[in-house]
C-alpha cells in the first residue's frame, strides 16, 4: 500500500492534545478538546515516540527493532494510525526543509 504521510515528516501532537498515564484507571489516555481517547497498547507505543523531533521513518525503525517486527508491517501500521490522527487534527506533521542554505 502507498503511505499517506511522508516518511521524512516529523509528527507532533497538536496544541491542546496531550498523552498521559492515567494513574486512577491504570491506563494511557490521549486528551483532546472535550475528548478522552483510550489508545490501545500499540497506539501508545507509537504515541510515546511522537515528540516533534523524530521523523516517521525514525519511529518505524525504532519500533521495528524494539519489537522485532517486519519493518514494512510496522510502517503500514504507523502510517494508518498517524494519518487517522492527522485527519482528526490531533497531530501535525511537518516536513524537513530540503537543502541547507548554510552549507
Amino acid at each position: 500500500m502507498t503511505a499517506t504521510l511522508a516518511a521524512t515528516g516529523v509528527p507532533k501532537l497538536a496544541r491542546g492534545v496531550r498523552l498521559r498515564h492515567d494513574e486512577a484507571r491504570g491506563q494511557w489516555v490521549l486528551l483532546a478538546p472535550e475528548r478522552v481517547l483510550n489508545p490501545d497498547p500499540v497506539a501508545v507505543e507509537i504515541l510515546k515516540k511522537v515528540d516533534g523531533a523524530r521523523s516517521i521513518d525514525a519511529i518505524v525503525d525504532e519500533l521495528a527493532s524494539a519489537f522485532t517486527v517486519e519493518r514494512t508491517t510496522v510502517a503500514t501500521d504507523v502510517d494508518a494510525f498517524l494519518s487517522g490522527l492527522a485527519e482528526k487534527g490531533l497531530i501535525e506533521v511537518t516536513l524537513p526543509v530540503i537543502g541547507d542554505a548554510a552549507s
Binding site: G16, D22, P33, V36
Partner: protein, 381 residues
C-alpha cells in the same frame, strides 16, 4: 499541601460498590460576568464576590481532583477571566496533570491577558457567541459591542495556536442562525462548535417563554445540524446539546448522576450538575469542609440519584435505564415537582403531554427577556 487528609480507608473499603471515577470537573470560578444572557446556566441566586473561594483553596481542589482521577478541568463561571489568579490556577492544573479548558465570554480579555493564559499552559479555549451577527450577540447578551470583542479574542486565540471551540446557545430568537454560526466557526478557524439548545433551568427557566422555539424550528435545526455534520466531517466537529421539550426520550443528563463529572461552585459547593441546587431536598457538601474524594464518594447529594436503585418502577423496568439514566433530575423537579420522578421529557412519563403543551404555549410567549444581572458593578476589580 492538602489541608484535609483524604480518607483512605473509605476509598479502599467502600460501604457500597465503588462508584465510577469522574472524568471531568466544571470549576465555576466566579459568578461575576459582564454579559446578561437570559439563558445563563448559573442559578438565579448568584454567589457574591466575598463568598468566592480563595486561590489556595482552589489549588487544593485541583490537586484533589487530579488524585481522584479527574482528567479534564473546565474553568468557567460567570466569566473566569474576572479572577486575577486564573493563570496561577492554570499553571497548577498543568503541574498536577489536568487538561485545562477555558470557557470564556471573551469580553474584556486583552491580547496581553490571552498571552499570559496561553503561557500558563491552557489547552483549549471555548468562546461563547450569543449570535452569529453583531446585532444578535449584542441583543442577547445585552452588551453593546460584545460581538466585535469576541471576534478579536477568537482571532487572538488562533494566532496563539490554541484550539478554539465556538459555543453557541440557540433559542427562538437566534435558532435560524445555526448555518451562520457554523460559517462563523469555519471563518474563525475553530475546529469545533457546540450548538446547545437552551436548557430550562435557572435563568433560562425564568425566561422560558421568551426562549422556547417552535416545534418546526427545532426539527429544522436538527436537520441542518445533521447535514452539516456529514458535510464538514474532518473539518469541523459539531457537538449538539439537544432540546428535549419536543423529544421522545429524555437526555441522559450528565450521562448519569454522580457518574462522570462534578461541579464546584464559586463558593465551594460540590454539585453533581450545575443546576442541582434547584432540588431543595439535597444537602451539598462544601470543599471548605470536605475533600473532593469524600464528597464524591460519601455526600448524600451525590448518592441520591446515583446508579439505578433510586428510580421509579417506570424507569427501573425500562431497557433504556442505563442509556437515559432516567433523564434529568432537575427537570423532574421543575416540571413534576419531584426530583425522583421520571423526566417528563420521556414519552412514557404521565406528564409528557403537559410538557409538550407547555412548550407549545411558551413558543407563543413574549419576546421580552428578564436579563441575568450580577448585583452592583464590581468597582474593586
Amino acid at each position: 499541601m492538602s489541608l484535609i487528609e483524604e480518607p483512605r480507608s473509605r476509598v479502599e473499603v467502600p460501604a457500597r460498590p465503588a462508584p465510577p471515577i469522574p472524568y471531568g470537573m466544571l470549576a465555576e470560578l466566579t459568578h461575576r460576568c459582564p454579559l446578561q444572557c437570559p439563558y445563563c446556566s448559573n442559578p438565579v441566586e448568584l454567589d457574591r464576590r466575598n463568598v468566592e473561594l480563595d486561590t489556595e483553596t482552589w489549588l487544593r481542589v485541583f490537586s484533589e481532583a487530579a488524585k481522584l482521577g479527574v482528567l479534564q478541568v473546565h474553568l468557567s463561571g460567570g466569566e473566569p477571566t474576572a479572577r486575577r489568579d486564573l493563570e496561577q490556577m492554570i499553571r497548577h492544573c498543568v503541574e498536577v496533570g489536568l487538561y485545562t479548558n477555558l470557557i470564556t465570554a471573551g469580553v474584556g480579555v486583552t491580547p496581553e491577558r490571552l498571552q499570559a493564559i496561553s503561557d500558563a499552559g491552557i489547552d483549549h479555549v471555548q468562546l461563547s457567541f450569543q449570535g452569529a451577527t453583531a446585532e444578535m450577540t449584542d441583543k442577547v447578551s445585552n452588551f453593546r459591542g460584545a460581538h466585535e470583542r469576541k471576534m478579536a479574542v477568537a482571532r487572538e486565540v488562533r494566532r496563539l495556536g490554541l484550539p478554539l471551540t465556538v459555543n453557541s446557545v440557540v433559542h427562538r430568537a437566534n435558532i435560524h442562525q445555526i448555518p451562520d454560526f457554523i460559517e462563523l466557526a469555519l471563518a474563525l478557524d475553530a475546529r469545533r462548535i457546540e450548538i446547545a439548545h437552551s436548557q430550562y433551568y435557572g435563568w433560562a427557566l425564568r425566561n422560558r417563554g421568551a426562549l422556547m422555539p417552535t416545534r418546526d424550528q427545532v426539527f429544522w435545526a436538527l436537520d441542518v445540524v445533521e447535514e452539516a455534520r456529514v458535510r464538514l466531517k474532518g473539518v469541523l466537529t459539531i457537538d449538539a446539546v439537544v432540546p428535549d421539550y419536543y423529544a421522545k426520550y429524555p437526555k441522559p443528563c450528565m450521562n448519569g448522576w454522580g457518574r462522570q463529572s462534578l461541579n464546584v461552585t464559586p463558593s465551594g459547593k460540590v454539585l453533581p450538575c450545575h443546576a442541582a441546587e434547584t432540588i431543595p431536598s439535597l444537602d451539598f457538601w462544601n470543599v471548605r469542609e470536605h475533600s473532593l474524594t469524600d464528597v464524591w464518594l460519601n455526600s448524600p447529594a451525590f448518592n441520591a440519584f446515583r446508579g439505578t436503585d433510586w428510580m421509579p418502577d417506570l424507569c427501573k423496568s425500562c431497557e433504556r435505564k442505563e442509556i437515559d439514566w432516567g433523564g434529568c433530575r432537575c427537570q423532574a423537579m421543575a416540571i413534576a415537582g419531584d426530583a425522583a420522578a421520571t423526566d417528563p421529557a420521556c414519552h412514557l412519563s404521565p406528564l409528557h403531554a403537559d410538557l409538550l403543551a407547555l412548550a407549545e404555549a411558551d413558543a407563543e410567549g413574549s419576546d421580552i427577556y428578564d436579563y441575568r444581572r450580577y448585583f452592583q458593578p464590581d468597582r474593586a476589580g
